[in-house]
Each structure stands twice: as structure tokens, then as C-alpha cells.
């Protein structure tokens, strides 16, 4: 999460302010997104580090490599499973849901 310690924060470090903020839904909860942030960044900003459970062990996972290489941050965005949260820009009105297993439970395979 990006809560500042004292007067230090990522925002204070680079100055400026987001051009717009908007709300996206994560598992029914409203989160504030800043224009230009990836879905993973919005989740980290809200202190959320896990948004997937693994296929075998059902263990919680979130962003790891941050650059699209590791696929640990896969998430379901607007009903589409297996989206890399660290690469997908958050858009106003997005619905993000925790992805369980392969994210294809609806296919019953």
C-alpha cells in the first residue's frame, strides 16, 4: 500500500496529482483508481496483495514480477479470466474478481 510514512510517499516523491480518479469494483468492494494505474497498482494502493488462488493448492497469490513475466497476478477482469493485472490498465467501471483455479470454472472442465 502507498500510505505515506511521515511526509514521504510515491506521490510526494514525483510531485503532481492524477488527472482523474474513478471507482472500480473488486469482489464487490469499491476501490479508488488513479488514471494510468494498472489493476495491480490499484489493488496494492488499497493494501490488497492477493487476488488469485492457485489451481492445485488454492493458495493466495498476487503480483510478483510486476512486468508481465511471471503470470502470478492473473485475475478476472469484466468476466475475462487470466488477465495479467500488472499489465492491464484499470478503467472506469471495471469489475475485477478474485480468480479461483484456472478461472474457467464456468466451462466445467
Amino acid at each position: 500500500m502507498s500510505r505515506p510514512t511521515g511526509d514521504r510517499s510515491p506521490r510526494a516523491l514525483v510531485g503532481g496529482a492524477p488527472r482523474a480518479t474513478y471507482v472500480l469494483r473488486f469482489d464487490g468492494r469499491g476501490l479508488t483508481a488513479e488514471s494510468g494505474q494498472s489493476i495491480a497498482a490499484v489493488l496494492w494502493n488499497a493494501g490488497i496483495l492477493a487476488w488469485r488462488t492457485t489451481r492445485e493448492g488454492g493458495a493466495p497469490r498476487g503480483a510478483f514480477c510486476g512486468i508481465g513475466s511471471c503470470y502470478d497476478c492473473l485475475v478476472t477482469v469484466n468476466g475475462r479470466p487470466n488477465q495479467r493485472a500488472c499489465l492491464v490498465p484499470a478503467r472506469a467501471g471495471d469489475t475485477v474478481t478474485t480468480q479461483e483455479g484456472t478461472g474457467r470454472a464456468d466451462l466445467a472442465v
Binding site: 510515491p10 514525483v14 496494492w44 493466495p60 510486476g66 500488472c86
Partner: protein, 481 residues
């Protein structure tokens, strides 16, 4: 096949420039960006394809324009080197000398009657794009090397480069109290940025010993700039009260559902944890990485020759003009061995001279030699010792995607006769998941007893460098041969 502005068959493209550029550059990080603008200045028509939305690669990653950052350079050093090249890119783009194609992820390059065809997946809608070029420069960079430890799959344990990327790009931190661990100079930069951005960093835990550099004094003395950079990181860490623990490693992350603390232990010279030296440090995140691995999918698929590096990774074999062993394919930057942004900028420019058939300026050649010498010293100092596997437990997941624990990999080597990562993969599925072994590859190879310095060591081969919709493969024209 659908057309796009980057498709030579598109009328829009035909008007704006020649159908076949002289050079396609893959990657707009320091090496690719420097190569593209230098080649354009030397008269070549260039197409610059990049997976990212903005030029700069991982090193010069900065917040999206919507975040309104007034001082993106606060998260960087050597910003001016990037800013001048980005300005040159925009000027060449306006003049029609460079076609810049962001959000284009090239997944394969194939020979095409004396030229090359590049296949890319473009944009969030995953359009199929093909582009032909007379020559190709691969500037695909690197990703982080990870060595697993118990608890490393807990949420809150993130890549050191990942934490840096999320901070630079999204202005967010993984936690308030972040232990930075692993090996390599990147850790100092990451710890400095996290602290400057408001995190508390209780310790930087470095497995190697910085005294290892002392054995490479000539390479250090030729690089006073690098020493000054190191000193700057050191004083930044002191200012923020960050401790640097060398010859130590995080040997376990603890927590239920997310990381709450780590155990840090002393290591012997071979990176074996010394019994009884473990102590707990409370934290809510861990940023971990053990150096970088050259990203070679496109190059190895083309058959480019590789060589083992002093850091235990495999890099491309390149000549003085940055040519690979495959005529018509050049490469620059981390693909030729991990060496940092300044070296990548230098090699990108050298490649451009060679591509344009011009003699390389002597200053560039000297700078490359000097920086490569430093890279060699750095690689040797931070090469993982073989004892690191001593901190794995049998139930520690090594392959994050397929959830394959160390015990099953050891069983494959001990009981089933596996001697290399490929056989381990076939027996256990380690490396067969979404990331295709990018995260577990070095660890699996170590557990299988492979050493990359061995003669004949080969990098992982992946026919596709990123996910490709099956419909794109179905639409490919038949191979005439």
C-alpha cells in the same frame, strides 16, 4: 489477417513510408531506443517495436501520463540520457524516419527470402500484426532471476525489480516495512527508491560479499562513475537508516495469508546458511531478486549462438559490431550479458553504426570495453554460490505456476535419473506452467545439477515469446518451403 497501421499491406502504412524498413528494432529500452535513434540519424529507415506503452523499457519506466507526475526523474538516475533520446525518437517519428509501434509484443521472427518477418500481438485487443524488415536488432532486455526459499509464494513477497516497476509505473508500494533481499547492485537502487517513496526498509540482505569486488580492482578503477554511483546508493541508504547485511540471505518468509516476518541467516562463502545464525525481522513485504537473466527467446529461436556468463546466466555471443551468429540479426544490451543501462545505450549506438556500415567511433568502443569489464566484475561477485539450495525445504514450491516442491524435483534427480532441467520438467511439470520456467528455471537447473558454465550449456528455448491467441497461429500463411 487483420490490418493495422504497422501492417505493410495497409494503405495508411504505404503512404507514410517504405513498405520494408531497413531495420526493425525489437525493444525500446535503453539499447533499442539508442539503436533506433542512432540508426535513423545515420540514414536508415527504422521500425521500433516495443511491448510497453511508452519508450524506456524497465529501467526508464515512469508513471503513465494520467498520473500527472511532475518529476518522474526523481525515481531515476541518468534521466538526461533517456530524455534526449526520447526527444530524438519523437523528431525522427515526425520526419517519417522511425515508425514507433508501442504495445506491440513480438512473439517470433522468421527468415523471409533474405529479409525477416516479425509477428507481433498488438494492443489490449491482441491484434495480429506482421512486419517485414531487411535486418533486425534484438534489444529484448532481461528479467529477474529468482532463487526460491520457504514462504516465497506468500503474498507480500515480490520481485525486487517488480517492486521497482510497480513504484516507477504505478506509484505504489507493496507494504510499509519492506525487507530487500537477494543479490546484486539492483537491490541498493530498489531499497533507495522504496525508502525515498516512504517505505521503511529494515535491511538490505545481500548474499554476496562486496569485498568480492576487491579482487577485480582494475575493472573498478576504470569505472569511477560506477564507484560514485555505488557511493551515492550507500549514502542514500545511510540517510534512510537502512542496514546493509552482506553474506546474509532471507531463508524463510513467515505469515498466514501474507508475509509478516522473515528469517535472515548468515551464509558461508558458498551461500550455505550457517546453522544457528537465523534471526527474525518483522516486515509486511519482501522485495527479492538475485540479479537478471537475459531474455533470449527470439534470438535462440532464430538459432543465435550463446555463451555462458560469469553470473551463471547464458547470454548471446556477439561480435565487435553487435552481430549475432545469424547474419542479419544484431543484438544489444542485456541480451549480450547483464551490464546495465549505460552499457545498453553504448551498445545500441555501436549496433547502429555497424548496421549502417559505418566505422564505430573509438570513444564508443572504449566505453563498451570499460563497462563490459565492470559488468564482468559485477557478474562474478554476485554469482550465486551452490550452497543456496541448503535453505530449501522439501515442501518449498520451486515452480510457482505448477506448484512443484523441491522434494519432487530432488526425487526426479535422485530416484529417476534426471540430470538436466528439461528432464526434470518432463518428470515433474516444473517449468511447464504459465511463465514457462522464467521464474523457476535457474533454480530447477541448479537442483538438477546443471551448471551454466559447463560446455554446451544452453538457454531455455520457447518457440513463442509471449501468449499468442490460437486464431493468429491458425491464420498464418502456409510455409512455402
Amino acid at each position: 489477417m487483420p490490418t493495422s497501421p504497422s501492417d505493410p499491406s495497409s494503405p495508411e502504412r504505404a503512404v507514410s513510408g517504405p513498405a520494408v524498413p531497413d531495420l526493425a528494432v525489437v525493444g525500446a529500452g535503453p539499447a533499442g531506443l539508442a539503436a533506433a535513434v542512432t540508426a535513423a540519424r545515420l540514414g536508415l529507415r527504422v521500425a521500433l517495436l516495443d511491448a510497453g506503452e511508452r519508450p524506456g523499457g524497465q529501467f526508464y519506466r515512469r508513471p503513465a501520463p494520467g498520473l500527472g507526475a511532475e518529476r518522474p526523474e526523481a525515481l531515476h538516475h541518468q534521466w538526461a540520457a533517456f530524455a534526449t533520446r526520447e526527444a530524438a525518437l519523437r523528431a525522427h517519428e515526425s520526419a517519417g524516419r522511425i515508425t514507433y509501434l508501442p504495445a506491440h509484443h513480438v512473439w517470433t521472427v522468421v527468415p523471409d527470402g533474405g529479409r525477416w518477418t516479425l509477428h507481433a500481438v498488438a494492443g489490449p485487443e491482441e491484434r495480429s500484426v506482421t512486419l517485414r524488415a531487411s535486418s533486425v536488432l534484438l534489444a529484448t532486455g532481461a528479467y529477474e532471476r529468482q532463487l526460491p526459499f520457504p514462504g516465497w509464494t506468500l503474498p507480500g513477497v515480490v520481485g525486487a525489480g517488480g517492486a521497482q516497476a510497480m513504484l516507477k509505473g504505478g506509484l505504489v508500494l507493496p507494504g510499509k516495512r519492506v525487507v530487500v533481499a537477494g543479490s546484486g547492485p539492483l537491490l541498493l537502487a530498489v531499497a533507495g527508491s522504496l525508502a525515498a517513496a516512504g517505505a521503511t526498509v529494515p535491511a538490505v540482505v545481500e548474499a554476496a560479499s562486496y569485498t568480492a569486488y576487491a579482487g577485480r580492482l582494475p575493472a573498478l578503477l576504470r569505472n569511477p562513475g560506477k564507484l560514485a554511483e555505488g557511493a551515492a546508493y550507500g549514502s542514500a541508504l545511510l540517510r534512510h537508516g537502512v542496514r546493509l547485511l552482506t553474506r546474509h540471505a532471507v531463508t524463510e518468509a513467515h505469515g498466514r495469508g501474507r508475509v509478516e516476518a522473515v528469517t535472515v541467516a548468515r551464509l558461508d562463502g558458498d551461500w550455505r546458511p550457517l546453522p544457528g545464525t537465523g534471526r527474525r525481522i518483522p516486515c509486511d513485504a519482501v522485495a527479492v531478486g538475485h540479479g537478471l537473466v537475459p531474455q533470449l527467446e527470439l534470438a535462440t529461436a532464430l538459432g543465435c549462438a550463446t555463451r555462458p556468463g560469469a553470473d551463471g546466466t547464458v547470454a548471446l555471443e556477439l561480435d565487435a559490431g553487435q552481430r549475432t551468429s545469424v547474419p542479419g540479426i544484431w543484438s544489444a544490451g542485456e541480451t549480450g550479458g547483464i551490464g546495465g543501462a549505460e552499457l545498453a545505450l553504448t551498445e545500441g549506438e555501436l549496433a547502429a553504426f555497424s548496421l549502417a556500415g559505418r566505422p564505430a567511433p573509438a570513444a564508443l568502443v572504449r566505453r563498451r570495453a570499460r563497462l563490459r569489464a565492470f559488468a564482468g566484475a559485477m557478474a562474478a561477485a554476485h554469482r550465486p554460490g551452490e550452497g543456496w539450495t541448503g535453505w530449501l525445504r522439501e515442501d518449498t514450491d520451486v515452480c510457482r505456476c505448477e506448484e512443484v516442491p523441491a522434494g519432487r524435483i530432488r526425487q526426479a534427480t535422485r530416484d529417476l535419473g534426471a540430470r538436466d532441467a528439461r528432464t526434470v520438467k518432463l518428470l515433474t511439470r516444473a517449468g511447464m506452467g504459465w511463465c514457462q520456467g522464467r521464474m523457476c528455471g535457474p533454480a530447477v537447473a541448479a537442483l538438477a545439477g546443471e551448471t551454466s558454465s559447463a560446455a554446451g550449456a544452453a538457454p531455455d528455448r520457447r518457440p513463442l515469446s509471449c501468449p499468442v491467441p490460437l486464431r493468429h497461429l491458425a491464420e498464418l500463411p502456409q510455409d512455402p518451403h
